[in-house]
C-alpha cells in the first residue's frame, strides 16, 4: 500500500531523509516516531507529492510523482496545525468534498459517526470550533471521501488530553480497513494505535518493527510512577534504591518515578508492599522517547535497527 525504496530528501546542504526503505501493507496501522525535526513532516510531504525527492515511492498502487495531484485523491491528511478557514463547517465540508470530487454525503455521514452531525454543528464557523472538533472534522473529511490511506501528522499536538483521547478512540473505531500512518513523538499515543513502529532519527530509519520489539531492542521498560505524601517521598526513594530491579529514580514533592530493569514492574510493587511504603497510587508510564532514541543510536552505530517488522 505504501512502499519507499531509496527515499531521500535534502534542503540545500541539509540532508533531511536519507535512503529510506520500508513497506506498509494495506490496513496496517503504523506509527512514525521521531523527535521534532526528525523528518516526519518531510516524509508526509513526499507521500503527498508536495516536494521533490530521490528514490521511489508508491502509494495505493500509484507511483508518487512530485507535483502531480492524482495520488492525493487516495490520501486523507490531518495536519498538526488545524487550518483556519473563514467558513462554516458545512461550507468547509462542501468545499473540500467538491475539491476531492466526492459527494458531500460521505464526509457528512462520517462526521455524524464521529459525533459531529452537520445538522447540529454545520452552521458554526470553523474558528468557533475547538481544536479537537476541527481535527475531528478533518478526520471525517479524510475518511468520508474514500481515502484508502490516512496520514496523521501529529494531529493531537495542540489538543488537551481529553480531546486527544477522543480523537484516537475515533481513529481506532473507524480506520479498520484504512492504512494508517501517523506521526508522533508521544509513546503513549503509539501504544494506543500502532501495529508497527517506524523510528526516524538523524534522517534515517532507525527502527522498523512492533512496539514490543522496540522495547526489547532498546531495553526500554515502562516507568512506574508512585505517588506518596510529600514528607514520605525521601523515605520511599531511600528504600527503593536498595531494590535490585530499580535502575534509576527521580522524585518530586508528589511522588517518585522509577525506571525498572526488564519486566519487573510487579516486583517493585511487591517491594513497596513488603516494606510497608506509604504509596497511595501507582501508574505505569511508557519509556521516554529520548531514552529509546539514545539506545537506538547506541545499538545501531547510526545504521538502521531492524526489529523484524515488514
Amino acid at each position: 500500500m505504501i512502499a519507499a525504496a531509496g527515499l531521500g530528501k535534502s534542503y540545500g546542504d541539509q540532508r533531511v531523509l536519507g535512503d529510506l526503505d520500508f513497506h506498509i501493507e494495506a490496513g496496517e496501522r503504523v506509527a512514525l516516531l521521531g523527535l521534532n525535526g526528525a523528518g516526519k513532516t518531510t516524509l508526509f510531504r513526499c507521500l503527498l507529492a508536495l516536494t521533490d525527492f530521490e528514490g521511489e515511492l508508491r502509494v495505493a498502487g500509484d507511483t508518487v510523482t512530485p507535483g502531480r495531484k492524482e495520488v492525493r485523491r487516495k490520501i486523507g491528511y490531518v495536519p498538526q496545525q488545524a487550518p483556519l478557514y473563514d467558513m462554516t463547517l458545512t461550507e468547509f465540508v462542501a468545499f473540500f468534498s467538491a475539491l476531492r470530487g466526492v459527494a458531500m454525503d460521505g464526509p457528512a455521514s462520517t462526521l455524524a459517526a464521529l459525533g459531529m452531525p452537520l445538522e447540529e454543528t454545520g452552521a458554526k464557523a470553523l474558528n468557533e470550533l475547538s481544536g479537537g472538533m476541527v481535527q475531528k472534522a478533518l478526520l471525517g473529511l479524510a475518511l468520508g471521501s474514500g481515502s484508502s490511506v490516512l496520514l496523521l501528522d501529529e494531529p493531537t499536538a495542540n489538543l488537551d488530553p481529553g480531546a486527544r483521547r477522543d480523537l484516537f478512540r475515533r481513529v481506532r473505531e473507524i480506520a479498520a480497513e484504512t492504512t494508517l500512518l501517523f506521526a508522533s513523538h508521544r509513546l503513549d499515543e503509539i501504544e494506543l494505535l500502532a501495529d508497527r513502529v517506524l523510528v526516524l532519527h538523524g534522517g534515517g530509519l532507525a527502527f522498523d518493527g512492533t512496539l514490543e520489539e522496540l522495547w526489547r531492542a532498546t531495553d526500554a521498560a515502562p516507568r512506574l510512577w508512585l505517588s506518596a505524601p510529600a514528607h514520605e517521598v525521601e523515605r520511599v526513594v531511600a528504600e527503593l534504591r536498595e531494590c535490585p530491579v530499580v535502575s534509576d529514580l527521580r522524585a518530586n514533592g508528589a511522588g517518585v518515578e522509577v525506571d525498572v530493569r526488564g519486566d519487573a514492574s510487579l516486583d517493585v510493587l511487591l517491594e513497596v508492599r513488603q516494606r510497608g511504603l506509604p504509596v497511595t497510587e501507582f501508574r505505569t508510564r511508557p519509556p521516554s522517547l529520548e531514552h529509546v532514541l539514545d539506545r537506538l543510536e547506541g545499538h545501531g552505530d547510526a545504521s538502521p535497527v531492524d526489529g523484524g517488522g515488514g
Binding site: L50, R72, I75, P79, Q81, P83
Partner: protein, 270 residues
C-alpha cells in the same frame, strides 16, 4: 473546475472581508458626491459635469483600486501559508498552478464585484439623469483591468513573501512607488534631471497607474491638458486610438507577466 471552486471560495471569503465593503463604500460615496456636486452644471452644460464626475471617479480609482487589489492579493497566499490553510489545501488533489489561478480569479472577481457595487450607484444616478451609460461602463471595465494587473502583482509578492506582514509591507511600498512615479513624479524627474521625452513616454506606459490614467483620459475625451507632458506627447505620436491601445496593452501585459512570474514562483516553491 478546480480553479473555479477555489475562486468561488475566494469570492465568498472576500465578500466577508472588510476591504470589500470599504472599497464598494468609497466608490458609492465618491460617485454620488461627484454626481450631486455636478447637478448645477448639468442643467447648464449638459453632460460636461458627468464627465467631471467620471474624471473624479477615475482619480479615486487611481488611488484606491491598486491599494485594495494589492492588499487583498498580497495576503492571499502568504496569509494562507501562515494559518496552515495553504498546506492543507495543497494536500488535496489540486496543483499549485490551480491554486494560484483560483486565488487570482477569486480576488479579481471580488474586487470587480465591489467596483460593480461602487460604480453601480453612480450609474444608477446617471440613468435617472438620462445620461449615457457607456462611459461609466468603460470606466468600470478599465478599472477592473487595472485591478487585475495589481492582483497579479500582489499575488506575485505573496508567493515570494515568507509572512503576511512582509507581503503587506512590500505591496504597500509598491503602491506608493507606482503613485509617486506617476505624472507628478515624472514631471519632477523631467525638470530635475532633464530626462528625454522618450523616456517619460515609455515610463508613462510602463507604469500601470499612469497607463490607466492616460487610457481613461483619452477614452473619455477629457481635456488633453490633463494628460501631462508625456501623455500629450504620446497623444501626438500615437493618436487617440493608438494611445488607448498602448495603455490598455500595458495593463494587460502587467496582468499577464506578473501572473506568469507569480505562478512560476509559487509552483517552484517546494
Amino acid at each position: 473546475m478546480t480553479a473555479r471552486l477555489l475562486a468561488q471560495a475566494g469570492v465568498r471569503e472576500s465578500v466577508r472581508a472588510y476591504w470589500f465593503w470599504l472599497n464598494a463604500g468609497i466608490f458609492v460615496a465618491g460617485g454620488l458626491l461627484l454626481m450631486l456636486f455636478g447637478q448645477v452644471d448639468v442643467s447648464l452644460l449638459g453632460y460636461r459635469s458627468y464627465g467631471r464626475a467620471l474624471a473624479g471617479l477615475m482619480q479615486l480609482a487611481l488611488f484606491v483600486v491598486p491599494l485594495m487589489a494589492l492588499l487583498s492579493s498580497g495576503a492571499a497566499i502568504a496569509g494562507a501559508r501562515e494559518t496552515g490553510a495553504l498546506d492543507y489545501l495543497l494536500a488535496q488533489p489540486v496543483t499549485r498552478e490551480e491554486v494560484f489561478a483560483g486565488k487570482w480569479l477569486g480576488v479579481t472577481a471580488a474586487v470587480a464585484a465591489s467596483l460593480v457595487v461602487g460604480y453601480g450607484a453612480t450609474g444608477a444616478v446617471a440613468a435617472v439623469k438620462g445620461v449615457p451609460a457607456l462611459p461609466i461602463a468603460m470606466l468600470l471595465l478599465f478599472t477592473v483591468v487595472l485591478a487585475a494587473a495589481f492582483v497579479s502583482i500582489g499575488l506575485w509578492v505573496s508567493a515570494l513573501a515568507s509572512t503576511r506582514g512582509r507581503a503587506t509591507s512590500v505591496v504597500f511600498t509598491l503602491w506608493l512607488a507606482f503613485l509617486a512615479l506617476g505624472s507628478l513624479g515624472l514631471m519632477a524627474a523631467f525638470v530635475r534631471w532633464g530626462l528625454p521625452v522618450g523616456v517619460l513616454q515609455v515610463w508613462s506606459l510602463v507604469n500601470p497607474v499612469e497607463a490607466f490614467r492616460l487610457a481613461m483620459i483619452a477614452l473619455l475625451e477629457a481635456d488633453p491638458g490633463l494628460l501631462g507632458p508625456a501623455g500629450a506627447a504620446l497623444l501626438g505620436d500615437l493618436g487617440r486610438v493608438g494611445l488607448i491601445a498602448a495603455a490598455s496593452g500595458s495593463l494587460v501585459a502587467w496582468t499577464a507577466l506578473a501572473y506568469w512570474a507569480g505562478r512560476r514562483a509559487f509552483a517552484s516553491a517546494t
